[in-house]
Amino acid sequence: MFTDLPRDLETEILSRVPATSLQKLKPTCKRWYTLFKDPEFLKKHVGRAEREVISLMSLRVYSLSVNLSGIHSSVEMTGMLNSLKDSEDVKISDITECNGLLLCTTDDSRLVVWNPYTGETRWIPYKSNSPYEMYQKFVLGYDNTNKSRYSYKILRCYHGLIDFGYEFEIYEFNSHSWRRFYDNSPNCSFESKGVTLKGNTYWFASDTEGRHIILRFDFATERFGRLSLPYQSGGYVDDVVETGVLSAVREEKLALLYERFDELNDSSEMKIWVTNTKIVEAKDLSWSDFLVVDSSKFMVTRMTNVMSFLVDEEKKMVVVCDTDIDQHMNRFYIVGEDIYKEVYKDIAQGLFSYWPLLISYAPSLVQIQQGKVIPGGKRKR
């Protein structure tokens, strides 16, 4: 019966099938194999594609299904990433996302860019110049001043010799090469993972006095800049621990999750803000309250080490993952105004430097080899 359908109707149906299913169905028959590579079909398909959520835990990448429906909210693992070509395990220690591309660092410090939608991968070679280059971070971004072609770049931040601050290198997809650049301005420590929005990367950072700031790296000008927080940060206070984590809300806004633990009073608070309007490169950030979590209301032990979260603006909820150090467990929670529910718990394997991560991305057709974007249709959000 299916084979009797006119081609355009077959395309209409297949363009509504999720990307992960389509990849698996390439071997069904030659017609489908060819169709799933056809640019016209892909444009239609990616235009309908829903955002995907993946999680990095214990060096493994999982695809997740997140269901936010009040008390019945759940998070389910729907698949685990495997390398099909080689039988070697794909062990990943860090991921950063930009435009549907994932920049992954493997546990043996190799770097690879992956488009989960098209399945393309590209290994990026780099050299470590000295054994002191610890705590290196990679983020993926692009020069957003050229509207017709995104020019993708990777920023590598690393500590050189111990007493000097961060050093930087940039890799351009077009030139296939790294070059160093110097910038003393950050003069702060990157507290959170970098989050890339509209090509530029943002960090929650603290300066030498312990005052918090939002740091932005502009991939077009290749310069760092400081932006406003939604609160006044007073710097170090004895017996108080403050942490901040950033998250991208769709591809338009930034969200900040702030936690403050008062060790003396054994109290904690969690607040989440979202930027007001879509991120505009030159201007400063303005924030709105999104959620205040009263931990006493829910009578839970404090959440610790929240490294990653995702925001659902419509439902006014967040999905958070953290690690319980004492029990060696990774946990996912769903948090809203009236809900605080642990929805997943598992033993954390590997070193504690590998915190669990939650990443949301919209499938895209970006080709990694040239870093070109095929102009796509309108995205359903």
């Binding site: 109707l9 297949l14 099938v17 169905l25 390439k26 069904t28």
Partner: protein
């Protein structure tokens, strides 16, 4: 309240009287009404009676007004029951919704089949939809390995 009726005629010669307001959810029929060529009834050469009955049932349910108030949640539940049909009927409905240009029915029927496809293996797809495998075993293996990384 006047409810203007029009007559729809299936390909196998059956006639169905339907409120015009209900029928014009089909863009195809709406254009014919505008062009004022519906006096003798509208012949639908591509839709047989068995399917037309279901289309009319759908359009009646989706003609929401004060007389027929219904929530989105209830409509979704109704959709599920409505689409509990044999595979061949679903495909006929897709063709009818396309010909009659009823967007919501078209979306519903296509999504139903897409949901049937989701999560199945190529083997299951071939047997469910009677699709022939024209790959050799070697070709099929090569295709499977094309993407280096995949979620399993």
């Amino acid at each position: 309240m006047s409810s203007k009726m029009i007559v729809l005629m299936s390909s196998d010669g059956q006639s169905f009287e339907v409120e015009e307001a209900v029928a014009i959810q089909s863009q195809t029929i709406a254009h014919m009404v505008e062009d004022d060529c519906v006096a003798d009834g509208i012949p639908l050469a591509n839709v047989e009676s068995k399917i037309l009955v279901k289309v009319i049932e759908y359009c009646k349910k989706y003609h929401v007004d004060e007389a027929n108030p219904i929530s989105e949640e209830d409509l979704n539940k109704w959709d599920e029951k409505f689409m509990d049909l044999e595979q061949s009927t679903i495909f006929e409905l897709i063709l009818a919704a396309n010909y009659l240009n009823i967007k919501s029915l078209f979306d519903l029927t296509c999504q139903t089949v897409a949901d049937m496809i989701k999560g199945k293996t190529p083997e299951e797809i071939r047997s469910t939809f009677n699709i022939e495998n024209d790959f050799t075993p070697e070709e099929e293996e090569a295709v499977r390995k094309e993407n280096q990384w995949a979620f399993e």
